[in-house]
Amino acid sequence: MPSKIAIHIVLIIIALLTLAPFLWMVGASFMATGEAGTYPPHFIPRSPTLDHYSGLFTGLQLGRYLLNSIIVSLSITGISLLVNSMAGYAFAKFSFPGRNRLFRLLISTMIIPGQVTMMPLFLMLNRLGLVNTYWGIIIPGMASIFGIFLFRQYVMSIPDSLIEAARIDGASDWRIYCTIILPLCKPILVTLAIFTFMGAWNDFLWPLIIMTRDSMYTLPVALANLMGEHTQDTEMMMAGAVLTILPVLVVFLALQKYYIKGIMLGSVKE
């Protein structure tokens, strides 16, 4: 069938165009110095070398930036999952005066762009001595309204009878949260963990503002900074880009089902 072939050709061309920058990035990162800057551009290195990767770690303390990114992203993920799931549970399964109004207020403030908070937040964290510390990035990421929203929706689907049965057995609310709510929330926990981790890893503007000392840069900030000084070192910049992308790519490939589910959850809001 001709239309079947045509659709496949179009889709494959789009896929190649989509992947070409990555293929070139990986190829160039293994090329000898100067090879990526020759015409015509090619994807396969003539004599592959690991020089640029080792150079990044020995000469430019990329290991340090990698460590910073890992510490910050994992901390934000861990803390925000705990904080958001607790709040989501409270909104879903407790009744207290003003609950719905409070929840609606939170949701309506989601429209405020994060950039609005950045000037006062910087001054505040500066006063607290948290500029150039991991806490400077972690603290604003501790709770997220979107995360609370997702947890609330999910916990609402857990039957009340389960919780009431546990309460009759004398379980405290905290125990119910730990032994019933959290285990049942595993799918949404995984989904939010990936979203939060990748969001924190890829974040740029806030880390750029709060980390002014070289040794505290996260990978994206370090990479943007290297771009200024090492524009000519194409192959080394590509190696840096590969190392920045690789962790999120691995996390995504391993858990993509949960990630796609998360997009769908996010898109049914309101």
């Binding site: 989509t18 409270a90 000037m119 994206p220």
Partner: protein, 297 residues
Amino acid sequence: MINTYSQSTRHSAYLFLTPALTAIGVFFFLPVLAALLMSFTDFDIYSLGDIKNARFIAFRNYSQLLQDPLFWKALKNTSYFVIIGVPLSIATSLGTAVLLNSKLVKLKSLLRLAYFIPVITTLVAVAVVWRYIYHPRFGLMNYLLELIGINAIDWLGDPHWSMPALIILAVWKNFGYNMIIFIAGLQNIPLELYEAARIDGASRWQQFRTITLPMLAPTTLFITIITVIGYFQFFAEPYVMTRGGPLNSTLSIVLYMYREGFHSWKMGYSAAIAFILFFIVFLITLLQLRLQKARVV
């Protein structure tokens, strides 16, 4: 629902809420209010040392912004990015979603994965990669164009091409995200509608226009809102690739805000820029929701 308003459950509820509400209150709500106040002051580098140096100047930051040619330039550039970029991005998403949703297609999940990879990768890293792809001499983009007979373009060096270059990058980076949402929307359209249309002799294009598009309207509205809001905040692409140049042709609102706030330390002025951004995003969301309501009624 557990009990109702009993003392102990209310206490537990507050305990569970405290960490989140404290964090959001202190590190989100409070800075928003502080930024609003700041935008009415001349908070600058002298106020950094001693906050008493900041004076209340009412709306002067805002009136000054309206006369600031760089701010208008940033607003114009950002609008250009949004007005061209968003429809292009949504059309690409919808196009690939429709093709990918066709029953004829094999290896769906593999193709979908390929389209999706730019979405999850670090924006700064791909901006770095694309800086070389746009290289006028050895860049991949010009090489591909020359293969089909188009002369080399100085993508990032020519003020006419710098913004299209950033738009192409943004569409490439984002279309996979909205594509996923569109595919889900397409799968919710009852197949009987298409069968009925086929019996009536409707062509593929007619089916697309009279069934697919209207049925996808709520999805499209949602996608438009989130994409517009996201595109209005673009920052990393010009920061990494062009530093806002050449000739400020890629200076965006957030980049200008960042420069005024954290390079010139004119934080009152910068806060005013942030609030104008908020105001624009707010108006657009409102407008789009209104449009949707008008269509439904």
